[in-house]
Structures are given as C-alpha cells and as structure tokens.
C-alpha cells in the first residue's frame, strides 16, 4: 500500500470517528454553526452600512483636505508677503543711500570705508 492510499484509508476511519460524536457535542456544534450563520446572513446590512461609512469617509476626507489646505495657503501668502516687504525695504535703503550720496559732499569712498562708519556712529553718540 502506498502513502496516498494509506492516507485515504486512515481519513475514512477518521470520518467514521467524526460521525460517532456524542449527541451533546453535536448539539453544541450545531448551535455554534447556527450562531455563525446568523452573523453570516447579517453581513449584507453591514455591507450597506459600509457604503454610508465610505461616503462619510469621502466627506471627512474633503474636510480634512480643506483643514490642511487653508493654513498652507495662509502660510504661503505670509511668506510671499515677507519676501515682498524685504525687497521693498532693501530698495528703499538703496534709494536712501543714493540720495545721501547725491546731496552730500562726501566722496563715495568715505561710505565704503568701515572706519568712517564706526567714526560716524561714535560721533553721533
């Protein structure tokens, strides 16, 4: 007898053993099966509920994206404003220096000299 045939014969005996379970155990197994089947039949309702849940998730996702996008847009606008303000301020400073250069008697090299700047600060105090 080969391995497969022996396996099948043993399985047949096992099947007979399973059919000889005592009545009390068969009843408990049947009750367990019934409980599982009730859950199984209740699944379509859960499935429909799942559709509603999916819709809620979609709306929730949209809300979530709005909640993230708004602060992000605000942050970007703020950064843009800061950059713009810095550029304008820099231009104003340059314009101010140009004006001083034009109306002053001092030569340009005086402004480029670091010691002159230090002297100017000390003298203003």
């Amino acid at each position: 007898m080969n391995e497969h045939d022996l396996g099948r014969k043993i399985a047949r005996h096992l099947e007979q053993g399973a059919n000889q379970l005592r009545q009390g155990m068969l009843y408990r197994l049947q009750a367990a099966r019934n409980a599982a089947m009730q859950k199984y039949h209740a699944q379509p309702a859960i499935g429909l509920a799942g559709v509603g849940l999916a819709a809620f998730r979609l709306r929730h996702g949209q809300l979530l994206s709005a909640r993230i996008l708004l602060p992000l847009a605000f942050l970007l606008l703020s950064l843009g404003g800061i950059v713009y303000w810095q550029t304008v301020q820099q231009n104003n400073d340059v314009e101010e220096i140009d004006t001083h250069l034009l109306i002053d008697d001092l030569p340009l090299n005086a402004y480029l000299d670091k010691d002159f700047d230090a002297w100017l600060k000390r003298s203003s105090l």
Binding site: G7, H13, L14, G17, L29, A32, Q38, K39, Y40
Partner: protein
C-alpha cells in the same frame, strides 16, 4: 464541516471544551470577516482561520504556562498537591459508542487507535496529514493554509503517514 473541524481541534488541544471554543471562534471569524468572499473560497479560508486559532491557543497556553511556572517557583510549590492530575489527561473515548455489534466495536477501537496515533504526531505533521487526506486538499492548498512551501507539505505528509503506519503495525491494526 464542523465535525471534522472539531476533531482536528481536539487532536491538537486534547480538550473537548477548548476544541469547541476554537471551532466556534473560527466559524464566527469566517462569518464576520469573510462573508463577502465567494463560496468556493470559504472552505480554504475556514481551514486557515481554524489553524490560526489553534496556534493562538498554543501561544496563550505558552504564556500562561510561563506565568504558572514563575508563580509556582515563588510559592515554593505548596499548591502542587492541590492540582488535580486528572485535569491534564485527555478526554478519553467519550465519542465512541458504548455498545454495539462486534464490527462496530472493532471499528471504534481502530478509530481510537488512529486518533491516539494522530495525537502523538508532531503538530505540523498532523496538520499536514489532516488537511491533505481528510480535508482532501491538494498540496498547494495545504501549503497555503499552513503558510509553508509545497515541499514542506510533502515532507510532513510523508513523515506523518510513515509514523502512523508504524504505530498501526505496532498495535496490530491492519487497514
């Protein structure tokens, strides 16, 4: 289906109530989580859930045994006398009919010997053998349920069958 599942669990855990709990859990899990699956897939899924539930039971038992061992060591083993050794014994032959003709008695005895032999096998060998020959799964399906390679399934099945043949021969059973 549930009878074979119950017997499989009983071979593994050797306790009727625990085996029943395992089958019940497996059936509920199947109904709750896989109701949307095609009917053809359900037997395979059920087997996978059943084997996982048995494995979970083993894990819990392992942790419980560890705590019991630690607790026993701390209490100097005073409570060992209170433990009933009968609690650790197998449920016995309650599934066999008590009376009947000679053939039925002989059949019941052969079934009992086979079941005892199966219980003595290593878990993976028993699992592979039962899935392959009793649940009539092919090698690929058995491998999928057991989470191992097809080669491992063949090895486990071969070893299980040879071990069973040796035990049956030793006990004078001829199939």
């Amino acid at each position: 289906m549930e009878r074979r599942a119950y017997k499989q669990a009983l071979f593994a855990v050797r306790n009727e109530d625990t085996a029943l709990d395992i089958v019940q859990d497996a059936m509920l899990k199947l109904a709750e989580k896989y109701a949307a699956k095609p009917l053809a897939q359900l037997p395979l899924l059920f087997q996978r859930i059943l084997q996982n539930t048995i494995r979970d039971y083993y894990r819990r038992q392992k942790v419980r045994s560890l705590w019991i061992t630690l607790f026993s060591a701390l209490t100097h083993g005073d409570d060992e006398e209170e433990r009933d050794p009968l609690e650790t014994l197998r449920p016995g032959d309650a599934s066999k009919p008590a009376d009947g003709p000679f053939e039925q008695l002989e059949q019941a005895q052969i079934v009992a010997i086979i079941e005892q032999a199966l219980e003595s096998l290593p878990g993976r060998q028993r699992q592979a053998f039962l899935l392959r020959y009793w649940e009539d799964m092919d090698v690929a399906e058995t491998a999928a349920v057991m989470g191992c390679s097809q080669g491992s399934v063949k090895t486990h099945c071969s070893r299980a069958t040879h071990a069973l043949a040796a035990i049956l021969k030793q006990r004078g059973v001829e199939l």
